[in-house]
């Protein structure tokens, strides 16, 4: 083999595979309610009585099927939050804040964006979206039956 230093060759590959995911009976109903009526429903476990959000057809703790739909408010409290400033391939454009929000009437927390406030400077932003902030859903006009039918939850105090 030749002595001279050879370049390391890199081969590009791309996984661009379209997927079609089933939402199932439970989530289909949940998304339908969001789309048609801008309503959010949790589902109650008949055994431990938790109202689960997002709703699933069974309770993993009790290992039984869930039964009753329970309306919850589109308002709640930020339970934990982070704010993104790095940009990554195929991911949302920063800055964006992800929070787990405890909606009134639910026993679990829902993941969503907190928005409608200026997130560009984290020093200011962390005060606007901090844990304990009350937030309310901002709905899209054109809804398709997805989590993103809510654009984000906006701090209630924000103008």
């Amino acid at each position: 083999m030749a002595e001279k230093k050879e370049e390391f060759i890199k081969v590009k590959a791309n996984w661009n595979i379209p997927y079609t995911h089933s939402a199932g009976k439970c989530a289909s109903h949940f998304f339908q309610e969001m789309k048609e009526k801008k309503r959010i429903f949790g589902i109650r476990c008949p055994k431990c009585q938790r109202v689960m959000l997002p709703p699933r057809s069974f309770c993993e703790r009790c290992f039984v099927e869930t039964t009753d739909w329970v309306p919850v408010k589109d308002e709640g409290v930020v339970d934990s939050v982070s704010i993104n400033y790095m940009e990554y391939t195929g991911m949302p454009k920063p800055p964006y804040a992800i929070a787990f929000i405890k909606l009134d009437g639910s026993d679990s927390r829902l993941m969503h964006f907190v928005g409608g406030v200026d997130l560009s400077d984290w020093k200011k932003a962390k005060e606007l979206v901090k844990i304990g902030t009350r937030v309310k859903a901002v709905w899209k006009e054109e809804r398709e039956g997805r989590m993103t039918d809510i654009m984000y939850f906006k701090p209630i105090s924000a103008k």
């Binding site: 081969v11 590959a13 996984w15 595979i17 379209p18 997927y19 079609t20 995911h21 089933s22 939402a23 199932g24 009976k25 439970c26 989530a27 699933r56 057809s57 069974f58 993993e60 703790r61 290992f63």
Partner: protein, 386 residues
């Protein structure tokens, strides 16, 4: 090493898509069926092994999502992925967890939704080396087609013999309520169906299926307490060949499977496979593979599988029943498929196979292959202890 038994099995109905359930809900369904079969509650399962083949489901590591559906929150949980063998290596992993004495009751769970992706072949293509081989566009069908053409060339097997494999599988599937494809086909139907990848035609190729299944393993002591009619594990083996297809000595002979088979039969104390084994559930998504597998495992001599199939040796009422479930040709939820073979083997030796029961079945073999002809997994179960 301890003796281990299988005390419960469960499977969902397999379909092209299960739009009525999410991934974890499908897992819940499969697990619930196995618990019902064993008359156990989820709290009695000490450890879990979850098997699936990323990324058919469109989720990276869906085991993390499905933990609730498996009933494993707060428990030991391990994820296995070994390609097409995944289902069976997941079962083998749960078996080792009990055989070692680490746990008394362990469950193997597999869910796969091949129907989620638009194109399973393009995913299968990604197991092929992107630097040297991927651009050639090889998918799993390529494996079956290469083996078919080579077997025809070397041993003179025929399109008609392969068509009979498809006819028998479809007839068996009609008696299996869980099977995905349930239609009666004639040899003419098979030989006139659309050419997919020469020499394989449409009715010689498996469907893409969604579904889940689960198998519960227990120590001898627990099995005696909990289950009146368990299936006893006699032996298991897994094996891996080279990554590079070009290194296989001859694509007409599955030598690596022969080697794994010899190890398996030694462990299980089998001396004359066709005489001692009553049922074989072989992983053959393409008709050609049944031929190669029968020969590699010594159920007939090299080149004899075709004529033996013509004689009906491997039919339901033949010398050894092959794929009473209808096999992979009629149902293929890829990463769960190997475990479905084990489910069927257990149902047969415990006399629970209903309309497709092989009379007096006492010893059954489950098999799976994966990669590009590269991996195999095997297990033998018996009605009696060995």
């Amino acid at each position: 090493m301890r003796r281990v038994a299988i005390i419960g099995v469960g499977q969902t109905k397999f379909r092209t898509r299960r739009d009525d359930a999410t991934h974890e809900e499908l897992t819940f369904e499969g697990v619930s069926r196995a618990l019902e079969d064993a008359a156990l509650s989820i709290s009695q399962i000490e450890s879990f092994v979850y098997g699936t083949m990323d990324p058919f489901d469109g989720v990276n590591s869906p085991d993390k999502w499905c933990v609730g559906g498996a009933g494993a929150v707060g428990k030991p949980y391990i994820k296995i992925s070994t390609g097409g063998t995944t289902g069976l290596t997941t079962g083998i992993a749960a078996y080792h967890q009990v055989a070692s004495g680490a746990f008394d009751i362990a469950m193997a769970v597999c869910t796969q939704r091949v129907g989620v992706g638009d194109d399973a072949q393009s995913i299968l293509n990604t197991c092929v080396c992107p630097i040297y081989e991927r651009d050639a566009g090889a998918g799993a069908i390529t494996v079956g087609a290469q083996q078919a053409s080579r077997h025809m060339f070397k041993y003179g097997s025929t399109d008609y013999q392969r068509a009979l494999v498809s006819v028998d599988a479809h007839k068996n599937a009609l008696n299996n309520p869980y099977a995905h494809i349930q239609v009666d086909v004639t040899p003419e139907d098979v030989m006139n169906s659309r050419m997919i990848e020469w020499p394989l035609r449409l009715l010689e190729c498996c469907p893409r299926s969604d579904g889940a299944c689960a198998v519960i393993f227990a120590s001898e002591e627990q099995a005696k307490k909990l289950c009146p009619k368990p299936a006893w594990v006699w032996g298991e083996a897994s094996i891996i060949d080279s990554y590079w297809w070009g290194e296989r000595p001859d694509l007409a002979d599955w030598d690596i499977l022969s080697l794994a088979g010899r190890r398996l039969f030694k462990m299980a104390g089998i001396e004359n496979p066709i005489k001692e084994i009553d049922v074989a559930e072989l992983y053959a998504p393409f008709t050609s593979q049944t031929l190669l597998e029968l020969e590699a495992l010594g159920f007939c001599g090299k080149g004899e599988s075709g004529p033996q199939i013509e004689k009906g040796v491997f039919k339901m009422d033949g010398e050894m029943a092959v794929n009473p479930s209808g096999g992979v040709l009629c149902t293929n939820p890829i990463g769960a498929t190997g475990l479905v073979r084990l489910v069927e083997a257990c149902l047969q030796v415990t006399g629970k196979a209903e309309k497709r029961q092989v009379p007096d079945a006492e010893v059954a073999l489950a098999h799976a292959w994966g990669g590009t002809m590269q991996l195999h997994a095997l297990m033998i179960v018996g009605k009696h202890k060995r």
